[in-house]
Symmetry: C2
Subunit: 409 residues, 2 copies
């Protein structure tokens, strides 16, 4: 059961001028569901992306990197669910390139103006013929209003479609920022994994958009963890169509840049949190904040150590205020010369650890009260600096084991 | 259920001249079980130890480090189960020191000739009065033949006592090496955690014994993982009594050193493997070997990435030959410039991945056959060097969640 996560309200998800989405049922893994999506992007748009750090980057990720390096203007994305096209060697690369060529033929583009994305089972050949056969239907259904349907089409074991819209006003223009994402584990039951696409009708210089995309990913998708495993297909794309009137954003010091950044971060964080809320087997949504660290990197290390610990996560599932495990996880982050007598921890609104020991006023029933809630914040104060970081995760339940131990179907 | 792990056969566990063990029921956590152990060591023995790297090192670990730094000759160990004396601040340190003083009084030693060890619940004050009250009984029961009982006395949620003996002959002398260990998760249900003690009647120079202890730990206890969490109390002690006639070992180039090292590694690896076999909720014992790595460190990193992955571990629980998860875990190790087209993986006797792709001759039923076994080897060939490393772990089952989600009792 997702934690406080509802499907997007279609009326709340705004179209982005210059982006159209279409889909079809290609039967990539099984028949009767939309599993191929085509995104058509207006000429002149900037497109930026960040990808998985996994060494076994899937074939489409490799092709994306090539096309982003070589191309003046990306004009289309082609996405399939049901097969990750990963661990598929040279024939996997050929399949990914072929899908780009066929999209290019349909839309009158060069094939390196198309970016391919895949999510699904690893180590199986992609049935690229089925994908290609579905492209005309994708083209026929292209519409600017299809963001919500698109969010459903890229789901694998997600239980709820993930989409979010916001906007910002600048010099009288009302800009839109809309995004969709899929993913419920860093790696699902044999599925691979997170894809996120955000579009805006603002105009941004390509290099600046790439920096901005990295920056947005670092405070959103790179701050969410379900099981600590990083998939082979993770991709996050930002498209800035420039379809609204307004000046091209060329510097990070412009007010419009800051407004756009805030809007992108808002959408990306909402989508990233949705991934943890819909995490495999999740019963609780947990926010881990580490403050007064010597560096942001150190804060992030401690936060991730807590968010990754199976012992901490099973304690959350059990609603057990097991403070020893929090202490253990903090100590396990490998922070150099950490003075534990300066460390404090607050669970929800309850001070639980002070000066590295159980807080004097702490009562077990207060901790137990907080642990029963569906949304819990763990705030760690390292008492040694001015940096902080936040990570979102979920608990670790019987259902996590069940979902991941069930035979691939 | 432990995987192929039986309690030690008392007749197979040999006494070590110069070491006596005694115990008592102190009621540290609950009444009616042996929970305090005293180890008396002959004068002139060398004692070496390695400890947890967790920043929240427990009070007894801190006192051990002090006493090992200052003291010419450690003569006694005092160990309690039921309370970790961790996250207990200055009063915890006082309690640990007081237990050493009382042992010293009883045995006619200086208090810094005593090393304290604790395992059990974190963040609770150690009831040191009860521990002290039990010491006379510990002294009264001191005997060289008590290794098996000692292995039971230090258990927390272990289901099987862990002890092992071996020996080696050198220049006509029959030397004994006997060890005991406890621990079934890196951190148990609120228990903390691994303790291991090995004794030998060989004579070793103290500094050399410290190097040797580190070296033995690196290929045994540091190669086992249940859940990737490192406890606050992990301690591994080697005692070389020198009680057998024979020359003092002073150099790592002596044949006696190599024989002793081999025997210590054999005992320590057996105990480390017993920890994984008795891992919380374990149904399978898994050996991960990584070969042809550019360095041992790199090999270890890949092996641990596989052994820590919840997705790999749940697939083992399900007997599911989910090769994509192995691929993901290898790629997730952050190996610089890994050429995935050189990577091969063998599961048991079945070649499953070749040149970074599913092996041509692989059939699902062969993988499924291997995954059904209680003991499984994953052999990864990185194809880029001459180094290798091995790690032992267990699978991740419903019972792991159950054991760790149950409220502290």
């Amino acid at each position: 059961m997702p934690v406080n996560l509802l499907p997007p309200e279609p009326s709340a998800i705004r179209a982005v001028s210059g982006i159209e989405l279409g889909f079809a049922m290609a039967g990539i893994k099984r028949a009767g569901r939309r599993d191929v999506m085509l995104v058509s992007i207006v000429k002149g748009a900037s497109v930026a992306a960040v990808f998985t750090q996994n060494s076994f980057a899937a074939a489409p990720v490799q092709v994306c990197r090539e096309h982003l390096r070589l191309t003046p203007g990306i004009r289309a994305l082609v996405i399939n669910a049901g097969n990750a096209n990963c661990g598929t060697g040279p024939s996997g690369l050929r399949a990914a390139r072929l899908s780009c060529e066929k999209v290019a033929e349909l839309l009158g583009l060069a094939s390196n103006q198309v970016l391919p994305f895949s999510t699904g089972v690893i180590l199986e050949p992609l049935p690229v013929d089925r994908l290609i056969a579905a492209l005309p239907e994708c083209q026929a259904t292209l519409s600017a209003d299809h963001w919500c349907d698109a969010a459903s089409a890229i789901m694998t074991t997600d239980t709820v479609a993930k989409a979010h819209s916001t906007g910002f006003m600048h010099e009288g223009v009302d800009y839109v920022v809309t995004g969709i994402a899929k993913g419920v584990g860093m790696l699902q039951p044999n599925m691979a994994t997170m894809l996120a696409f955000i579009g805006t009708d603002a105009a941004v210089a390509p290099d600046l958009l790439q920096d901005l995309t990295k920056r947005v990913a670092d405070v959103s998708f790179n701050r969410v963890t379900v099981d600590g495993d990083t998939s082979t297909n993770d991709s996050f794309v930002v498209i800035a169509t420039g379809a609204k009137p307004g000046k091209l954003i060329t510097s990070e010091h412009e007010p419009a840049y800051l407004l756009l950044e805030a809007a992108l971060v808002a959408v990306a964080q909402r989508l990233a949190q949705a991934i943890a809320r819909d995490g495999e087997g999740a019963t609780k949504f947990i926010t881990v904040t580490v403050s007064r660290a010597a560096s942001e990197r150190e804060a992030l290390r401690v936060a991730k150590c807590i968010a990754h610990s199976p012992l901490v996560k099973t304690a959350f599932f059990a609603s057990d205020p097991n403070l020893g495990r929090l202490l253990m996880a903090i100590g396990n982050a490998g922070i150099d010369a950490l003075d534990v007598s300066q460390v404090g921890v607050t669970l929800g609104d309850v001070k639980v650890i002070e000066a590295g020991e159980r807080a004097f006023a702490y009562r077990e029933e207060d901790g137990a009260r907080v642990m029963k809630e569906a949304e819990i914040t763990v705030a760690v104060d390292l008492g040694r600096g001015a940096s902080e970081a936040t990570v979102w995760t979920c608990d670790f339940s019987y259902d996590y084991v069940k979902i991941n131990a069930e035979y691939r179907t």
